[in-house]
Symmetry: C2
Subunit: 515 residues, 2 copies
């Protein structure tokens, strides 16, 4: 294969411009608007970063002029002397475009085989019935230093699946097992998915089942350190894979472990990121109050342990009090909003607008397998839906507004554009990579997906009349009159992995085919 210097992407590019980080107010709401450009963008092969853009390139002639102006020669075309480039085009006739890769800010890789299996459980019985038994199987009793074959199968599958849905970066919870956690990091590295990978800490013997827990606080810390060391050795520059300190949630950890994990995070430079759960379920909140009687709140449990940092990802945050929201905002910690999971296991309706209005960074998480789907696009849908129901919720302050029967103001609603912002820009901030992923800009990584919504429906007649029953070009029906904004709305509501034709991370093709 020729060593080309750049890949030139040509076609339509859609992303969400980055908004200022200060919180919005009801009188100056943020404007989430698609940025739609047609032209060329080129990615440097050695580092996978965007090296330049030219939105003046209107057609193939313009593309040829750009190539000539840059002194490039195109792979397979002629004998020029300049740097070799490869061209990848989005297909206009299929409503194709390039979009930033999705960022999944909360996903439990080992739970993937249980996707869709949760019955009518809620958090605490769901953990006991479905989750802990599956996670415990990632240990290998016969050969504790090697992950079992089932871990290879599950981790290969979940990484391939999430890539196929356009997820270019994920913050993964693994299990308590160091070999399997390290395997997950290796699978991400091999397949080329950007990832934060965390060994789960569970040293509270009073609450974790005997068959699935750390032996002691000391062993929990030692295992965490071992996994961090492995991941740093796997990717010394932390370009693709990074470790993340992962106390499961307050009830599964002793106060000593929480504090020591907080200190461990602070001991590195830059500080090691942290991920955990908070205020997902009302019974869980009661349990935390019982277990930590001197804490002012659930959030205070983490804050007292040094775990609320600007590098902390808090999953769920469905039922935070106003004081807790203020504390999270003050510490600069971020929230992984997991609406699919919150609905599936009946945790509640997270008032995302309140979090955003108070200056908290929010991204989206699939929370597989509390959430049933590996798709961030599905998570965008669920975030939009839940935001439209928050005003009916009896646990939300948003219920106080004037709209429709005295409830809600309308501001609580998340638009398709805002959902996509949370899935890209928001997620990038949550994982601390807002300067290099989540959008298209010179110097940012080419973490991207090529999406095709599909060709317009043939208005000349229905395929069925020719005996071609249901053999549509796409799963999304475009009738030809839609604006780009409407086409994107159709994609968000009825699109799926079929629409994701290719995925790149740092310029490397990691799913699908280059065109």
């Amino acid at each position: 294969m020729a060593a080309y210097a750049y890949t030139v992407y040509y076609g339509t590019f859609i992303h969400l411009p980055r908004l200022p980080e200060q919180p919005a107010t009801p009188t100056s709401p943020p404007k989430y608007k698609l940025s739609i450009n047609h032209g060329a963008l080129w990615v440097s092969r050695p580092d996978g970063k965007i090296a330049g853009v030219d939105w003046e390139v209107k057609d193939e002639n313009g593309l040829g002029e750009l190539i000539e102006r840059m002194g490039w020669r195109v792979e397979g075309e002629g004998e020029g002397v300049g740097e070799l480039v490869k061209i990848v085009r989005s297909r206009e006739q299929r409503n194709g475009f390039f979009f930033p890769g999705f960022i999944d800010t909360h996903i439990h890789a080992p739970q993937y085989p249980n996707s869709g299996i949760f019955g009518s459980s809620t958090l605490l019985d769901w953990l006991e019935t479905y989750t802990f038994p599956l996670e415990s199987s990632f240990g290998n009793k016969e050969n504790p230093s090697e992950p079992p074959q089932s871990a290879h199968t599950a981790y290969n599958r979940v990484v391939s699946r999430t890539l196929s849905h356009g997820t270019t970066c994920a913050a993964y919870f693994a299990t308590i097992h160091v070999p399997a956690t390290n395997l997950l990091a290796t699978v991400c590295h091999t397949k080329g998915q950007r990832a934060l990978v965390g060994r789960v800490c569970m040293d509270n013997h009073a609450l974790c089942p005997a068959y699935y827990r750390d032996e002691s606080t000391a062993s929990s810390l030692a295992a965490t350190r071992a996994s961090i060391a492995h991941i740093r050795a796997l990717d010394p520059s932390s370009t693709l894979i990074r470790p993340i300190i992962t106390p499961r949630f307050a009830p599964s950890c002793t106060p000593a472990a929480l504090s020591q994990l907080g200190a461990l995070a602070a001991s590195t430079s830059p500080p090691t990121p942290i991920q955990t759960h908070i205020s997902e379920n009302l019974n869980e909140i009661s349990l935390v109050a019982e277990l930590f009687p001197t804490a002012k709140s659930y959030a205070d449990v983490y804050d007292s342990a040094g775990l609320l940092t600007p590098h902390t990802i808090l999953a769920h945050a469905v039922h935070l009090s106003a004081d807790e929201r203020a504390l999270v905002a003050a510490r600069g910690s971020a929230v992984a909003h997991c609406p699919a999971s919150n609905s599936a296991i009946g945790s509640g309706l997270c008032p995302v607008r309140e979090l955003l209005d108070e200056g908290i960074t929010v991204g989206l998480g699939t929370d597989v397998s509390g959430g049933w789907s590996p798709s961030i696009l599905e998570t965008v849908r669920q975030a939009c839906l839940i935001s439209r129901l928050v005003r009916f919720s009896n646990t939300s302050a948003a219920a106080a507004g004037p709209e429709e029967g005295g409830k809600g103001t309308g501001r609580e609603k998340i638009s398709v554009e805002e959902g996509l912002y949370l899935a890209t820009r928001g997620g990038a901030r949550v994982v601390g990579l807002q300067d290099v992923i989540g959008g298209f800009g010179v110097g940012m990584y080419w973490d991207a997906q090529m999406v095709e919504i599909g060709e317009p429906v043939d208005t000349g007649g229905d395929a069925d009349n020719d005996g071609n029953r249901g053999g549509y070009a796409s799963n999304v029906d475009i009738f030809g009159w839609e604006s780009w904004e409407e086409k994107i709305a159709k994609l968000v509501w009825n699109g799926d992995d079929r629409n994701v034709k290719a995925v790149w991370v740092a310029g490397r093709l990691v799913h699908g085919e280059s065109c």
Copy 2:
């Protein structure tokens, strides 16, 4: 093509057994359980009805013995003298099975091109902004007696799409236009989808836009009669296509029209079915109270007009009062639960368990395009999700129970099996066809889908290592240890039209390929 007498379906058959029609009580909750049989079932070609079943047929030898015992000869095999049969097998290795077709009890066919386009609107502004402009385009100003080409495109597409998602029967709202309504009936008839097709009545000039309304009460009734006559002529036996009287909803009709439509429904034998909307949105309910100041309630508006009958489908019923629920139950009217729509346009969380507990028949509706998806499987998912959130709703009596922080009892939750029951048996009762569709039984129509969940993940290694990136056999990952109940749960949560390999209505293949 040889004229065979029967199609013999061989493989796994899953359906939900029909439950008694009396309401359940908290102390005797209904048991929704999958019935899973392996064997053979045969469908008579002339009438498309199930002529016999044999669950003792365990393998191909057993199938051969059945054929011999019945004196059949198999198409393409030998020269026997008995009746010719064709054999269709579900593929066990792909976790294939036969399942009853889905019944969509509420769908607006003309709105299909707007699927996914609704912004942040709620019912009344959604109608003005998105829906009425699209529906009005189904009239043809140049040639009022012919539907426009766009109606052909939209109706062919929506019927093909819903068939491809396994919908074998649908209760359609059309528009106010007789030619386009008749076209919809013809498209359903041609493509072979069982359907109730209704011309929409909108004669209230104070509330319907000038560009989209019936000219008068008299013309509204005359147009309704004309469309009914066309549909009866199209299918005189009403085997496949039936007319349904369709006042859009109380605010769009004058009291005179409502009463005359009620009388029209009662004037035929058997009575003509009726469909309309009720209590979808809080502002809509206020509007009805304003418009009908002497009515006791929204439900009473319909009851006073003779529109609450045992053949009436009421879409939504999100916010019915206890008195209204009792009235609906007493009249034997049914509810089309449309959870996707209710979330998408922020109508609220329908307390389905309350409806069921009080003896009201409930089926599922996609409510395209208030709902974004033509899929009843998606609607099952949304029904399950919403039922898990109802206990957080401030408008639901279910919020009073003791579970988790004083809210809900757990009984409000709809299981995957119950969701599938509502999508098949429930829907069959809603459309008045519970004796002939919704399940598998001798004498019932073969309205069915062949579903394949997919082959189990190869535990020997991941395809990606062979360069086969993401090219999975299925969109649902089966790991090999799942029970049928767990496989069905995985299908419900992550399945889609890719899993629907073939669809039959009254024995006729209407989508996909016979195997």
